[in-house]
């Protein structure tokens, strides 16, 4: 096992976790507003998948995209400042938690209408194919998205035109307060891919290496053969749908069982078992990450809000 790789993945997942813990705290202090959807418990999916792509591959995600943004850009300051609604945020304070963009890093959002970004991701892949560029698009979405028309139309077109996009379903078992089994007529979201037609794979979304392997394989094929591939990562969100949701619709027992498979702890165990790092060394890495998040919070606090008279900027019609 590659020690640098494992420690790098660990660091990224820890950054996502600490970032969101700090964001939740700032929310409770009234410094972050709006909807705040945490990815706590699901970090292995975004981190594993994005680590498997080239930095020039595109990332298109939902409103639950802090981790995707961080995994792609490493820019905790820009993300935190965005949550604080500051001009120094990655979307200038105009987007907030649900709309993180970074064109330079090919982080293409940040979309908050369920399913709407799925055809958009297909369109990004269309452009890559059109220009004969070998970039692949990663499209992330939740299990609850699998009944949306836009989801199906996006998959249909990607399948028809053989577009190089890897669709990654983050199956955290719930869409808001509704468990998947009450809204999905099939057991696995992955079977939906079959008719378009698209190969699919189901992975353990709490195992960052398993996600990474599957996405690496998919990205390579998408790039080489110009075709879409569908991956369903089974995972679980430890927090409510948003920080305002106490998540009373699920049992403590269920939550406890999933928290035993905390993706970060599982990776830490693996790293220690393999003798790559000791608990103390991982602790030091954690401290480093905490300092980075603290720095991001301080940056977000001290930089100014957008000037009111800029409100009309970027309005062209």
């Amino acid at each position: 096992m590659d020690a640098t790789l494992l420690l790098g993945l660990y660091r990224q997942m820890a950054l996502c976790r600490r970032f969101e813990e700090a964001a939740a705290k700032a929310y409770s202090q009234g410094k972050v507003s709006g909807f705040l959807h945490l990815y706590v418990g699901q970090e292995a999916v975004a981190v594993g998948a994005i680590s498997a792509a080239e930095p020039t591959d595109y990332v298109v995600a939902t409103y639950r995209e802090h981790a995707h943004y961080l995994a792609r850009t490493g820019d905790a300051r820009g993300a935190m400042a965005e949550l604080f609604g500051k001009a120094s945020g990655c979307s200038g304070g105009r987007g907030g938690s649900m709309h993180l963009f970074d064109a330079a890093h090919r982080m293409l959002g940040g979309w908050a209408i369920v399913g709407g970004h799925v055809p958009i991701a297909a369109g990004v892949a269309f452009a890559s194919k059109y220009r004969d560029e070998k970039d692949v698009t990663l499209c992330f979405f939740g299990d609850g998205t699998a009944n949306m028309g836009a989801f199906h139309e996006g998959l249909a077109l990607a399948g028809l035109w053989k577009l190089p996009v890897v669709f990654i379903c983050e199956n955290n078992q719930y869409a808001m307060g509704t468990p998947l089994y009450r809204t999905l007529s099939v057991e696995d979201v992955a079977v939906r891919a079959r008719g378009y037609p698209m190969e699919s794979e189901i992975v353990n979304g709490d195992d960052v290496l398993e996600v990474r392997e599957a996405v690496r394989h998919a990205v390579n094929r998408a790039r080489r053969e110009n075709l879409p591939i569908f991956i369903e990562a089974k995972t679980y969100r430890f927090r409510g749908h948003s920080v305002a949701d106490p998540a009373t619709y699920r049992s403590k027992e269920e939550l406890r069982k999933w928290m035993e498979r905390d993706p970060i702890r599982m990776l830490a165990d693996r790293i220690q078992t393999l003798g790559i790092a000791t608990e103390e060394q991982l602790g030091a890495l954690d401290d480093e990450v905490k300092a980075q998040v603290q720095d991001a919070v301080e940056f977000a606090e001290r930089t100014p809000a957008p000037e009111p008279d800029t409100v009309g900027e970027h309005v062209y019609a």
Binding site: N147, A150, T178
Partner: protein, 342 residues
């Protein structure tokens, strides 16, 4: 007469649905999280327990699908209440509402009517950013074939929702996310408020403020401030945007000779513009000043709180506009913002 009770807006809406569903078994409620979760905003709390899964139906996230299912069911005699978690998501189903629901009765030469209510919260809440803060009533009110209803008080919410459910035509019923906890007297017993009838929420002689939903309260706050300056504003609550109670608006303007429309949402081609066209055309001789409007700035909603506050209509902006309409100030017509904001 039994005494009125104080209910929250959400309780009043629930009472309307419950009473109507008790009365008519062909009525059902369908939408995301309406059942087991008791409603994303708890409007339907307890309704699943009361009516069971047959009549309080949780859907997947599939707005085009369940809006269309509602229309199909209504074509053949059921009376669906379709809840959009917010009206922003109705845009996914705009095809069903605008192309299908609005057209059916006309293009079938009246062979079909469509007794269906689409309801849910619209407008901005707090810092929900561009995709979650839209006031879409002007868009739906643009379409012949859709009734558009927007209550401002719990009593109206109950009475108008009951009327909407009893109506044989598609009704777009837009509530407000930030008003669900608002309390107010609701008459006991049967209480139905007819669609298409405006209501004077505050009498006044100096200027007419036309508003609906949340903006009625913005207008009332402005009216309180203006009273301190010796200006008495009349607040006309449209309650229904389509069909529009033109007579009520014109009658008020005939009394006050001045008109300011307060509208959440964008100015361009909005309901406020329609009202100003009405007043200019039909009330021209009554006017002592050009009619004006206070609306959102003409921009997508920014996330940052300080920007959002600039975008949304405020009592202060209403007061400033009224002063101008009364010739008391020469405040700039447009707030000083860069770009095309106004």
């Amino acid at each position: 007469m039994p005494e009125p009770r104080v209910l929250t807006f959400r309780e009043a809406l629930r009472e309307a649905m419950v009473e109507e569903m008790e009365r008519d078994p062909s009525i059902f409620l369908m939408g995301e999280e309406v059942g087991h979760y008791n409603g994303a905003y708890k409007v339907s709390e307890g309704m699943l327990a009361r009516f069971g899964e047959k009549r309080v139906i949780d859907t997947p996230i599939a707005e085009t699908g369940f809006a269309g299912v509602g229309i199909g069911a209504a074509m053949v005699g059921l009376r669906p209440i379709i809840e959009f978690m917010t009206w922003n998501f109705s845009l996914v189903a705009a095809d069903q509402l605008i192309n299908n629901a609005a057209k059916l009765r006309y293009m079938s030469n009246g062979q079909f009517t469509l007794p269906i209510v689409f309801r849910g919260p619209g407008g901005a809440a707090h810092a929900l950013a561009a995709q979650h803060s839209q006031a879409l009533e002007s868009l739906y009110a643009h379409v012949p074939g859709l009734k558009v209803v927007m209550p401002s008080t719990p009593a109206d919410a109950k009475g108008l929702l009951k009327a909407a459910i009893r109506d044989d035509n598609p009704v777009v019923f837009i509530e407000s996310e930030v008003m669900y906890a608002l309390k107010g007297d609701v008459p006991a017993g049967e209480h139905v408020v007819p669609l298409g009838v405006a209501d004077v929420k505050r009498p006044g002689r100096d200027v007419t403020l036309v508003a609906w939903s949340k903006m009625v309260h913005t207008a009332l706050k402005a009216a309180d401030v203006l009273t301190g300056e010796g200006i008495e504003a009349e607040v006309v609550d449209l309650r229904t945007l389509r069909p529009l109670d033109e007579r009520a608006v014109l009658a008020s303007v005939a009394r006050t000779h001045r008109c300011v429309v307060v509208q959440e949402g964008w100015p361009f081609a909005g309901v406020a513009a329609e009202l100003i066209a009405l007043v200019a055309r039909e009330g021209f001789d009554d006017l002592d000043a050009p009619p004006e409007r206070v609306t959102n700035l003409d921009v997508p909603m920014p996330y940052a709180r300080n920007l959002e506050n600039v975008v949304l209509p405020s009592p202060e902006r209403v007061v400033a506009t009224v002063r101008r309409v009364l010739g008391l100030t020469e405040a700039p017509r447009r707030p000083a913002v860069a770009g095309r904001g106004r």
